[in-house]
Symmetry: C2
Subunit: 304 residues, 2 copies
């Protein structure tokens, strides 16, 4: 176990990736969720996305949400964008951390942003230049990295190529997204290894979904490779648009619970996070998939 990182950085994506895949909630609730998360000890929050409101009405109020959210000094906030136009909105709103998403699967990219992967990469090159000029950093998120719901498996070489192109164009960091929960530990080991051998210096985040139950197993595989940067969503907020009723993002409480028990620091107050998960559950009005929200941490005993 000596090889595992001592601490990881958790990026909380509930307010964006979570709420984007739920029925729309009021602006007040979004602000409340971000503010509550900012007080849990979490060091990074993906706050909003700047996307076309017709495509994703859940994020139509991104400007207002961000204006009203408390910006805690000890939290880094980021915005997700699909293209240069979205990035300009995010930069105008004051974000200094931009995540831009591109699918390794051409079919998924066309469905998602109505252009080929290649066209997205050209746009991302311009986006990176613009963001850097304005003092912001850019993380390239390669989605469908472990498989596409339309195309199936995407060759690892293709996924690494897409990521490496963004790195060559100046991306400050890369994230691999398991968009529909198709990753298993062996696939995680393979992709991370091949990416690292081509881009040994690039900061790498992994974004797992628990759609098929493998979320934390994938995290454990990645930890063994030294990966120390993970996305997760409070309560497991979100879901999978391709599989109604199935889970989406791994739950932040489950990630924090497992890692802290293994002596890997997250900086997060687990009890406070569970309280926010319960609040998120009331917000969306249905049971969230987080097991730790349901069962409590392993230290919560039953009176004999």
């Amino acid at each position: 176990m000596g090889d595992l990182p001592d601490r990881i950085s958790l990026r909380e994506v509930g307010p964006r990736d979570g709420l984007q895949n739920e029925a729309p909630v009021p602006t007040d609730d979004k602000v409340e969720l971000i503010d509550a998360l900012s007080r849990t000890g979490v060091s990074r929050i993906e706050a909003v996305s700047f996307v076309h409101p017709k495509a994703i009405p859940q994020m139509a109020d991104a400007d207002e949400v961000w204006r009203r959210a408390e910006k805690a000094d000890d939290v880094r906030y980021s915005a997700l964008v699909p293209n240069l136009r979205g990035a300009l909105r995010a930069l105008d709103a004051g974000f200094t951390e931009i995540e831009v998403v591109v699918s390794a699967s051409d079919t998924h990219n066309r469905k998602n942003v109505n252009r080929s992967t290649e066209e997205s990469l050209d746009d991302i090159a311009r986006l990176i230049a613009e963001a850097h000029e304005r003092g912001a950093t850019v993380q390239a998120i390669v989605s469908t990295a472990w498989g596409c719901p339309y195309e199936g498996d995407i060759p690892t070489e293709r996924v690494v190529s897409v990521a490496s192109r963004a790195v060559a164009d100046g991306a400050d960091a890369v994230s691999f997204g398991d968009t529909t929960g198709m990753a298993t530990p062996a696939r995680v080991t393979r992709l991370v290894g091949e990416f690292r051998s081509r881009n040994p210096e690039t900061p790498l985040n992994l974004h797992f979904h628990n759609t098929r139950g493998t979320g934390l197993a994938n995290v454990y595989a990645a930890l063994q490779l030294g990966v120390d940067d993970f996305d997760a969503s409070v309560g497991g907020l979100g879901g999978c648009p391709y599989a109604p009723g199935a889970s989406g993002n791994i739950a932040s409480e489950e990630l924090v619970h497992m890692l802290e028990d293994m002596g890997i620091a997250t900086g997060v107050d687990l009890d406070a996070l569970i309280e926010v998960a319960a609040r998120a559950e009331r917000m969306v009005g249905h049971k969230l998939p987080s097991q730790v929200l349901r069962a409590g941490p392993r230290t919560r005993l039953t009176p004999a």
Copy 2:
């Protein structure tokens, strides 16, 4: 990845551990479930338990269930018992594989079988002798191996001692049960390592619960230690009596799905197993926690 086993043996525990933690279902349904599972390729089924019907009314019809179940030639069936008295019933019913359960936690053992762990171990020694005389094998299941809902953490040394006592008394195999889902990969690595160093030749099964989301991560940790024998429950049937609404056993489909994708054979036809999980869900009349039941395998694509 070269160190992982090429194949594992899955023991399906849905008919016993699953149904024991659900509202009682009719005898016909239990027989149907065992028979359906016998046709999925699964090599072992924990069919029933012989316990006092007042303690566990769900298993009061164990004799009839077992009499009526088809006994497939290529499936090994076992019965779980809490003590010698239960073992005698199982042997009389014709079982040749007995599992006897004892808690590493004294408090849990007293709650479960109304005697101390030490008293159970004495009884198990007699049980093993009796079973061996009648040509049956005995697996000692040490429950609360990674923590007890009443006592909290149980020292690894204590868990290994309880298991080693049963081995010294002739147990043919050992299983460690994560009764309320308190295991994490670091704890799995520690307990398996310490048990193996004292009992290098004893066959070892692991029985994980997904109560806090760590089930498959624990499996992945165990695979890396060469463990190749796991329990799982179809659909994730069961639940956790200590945490209403939380998951119990890891779902067989999730285990098979992850392992087969990693090139580790299970012998199980995943599609057939998912069909049985759907049937089990109708049987108990509520949504089961299996994610693969919900989302389907990763190879199930969405039309573009």
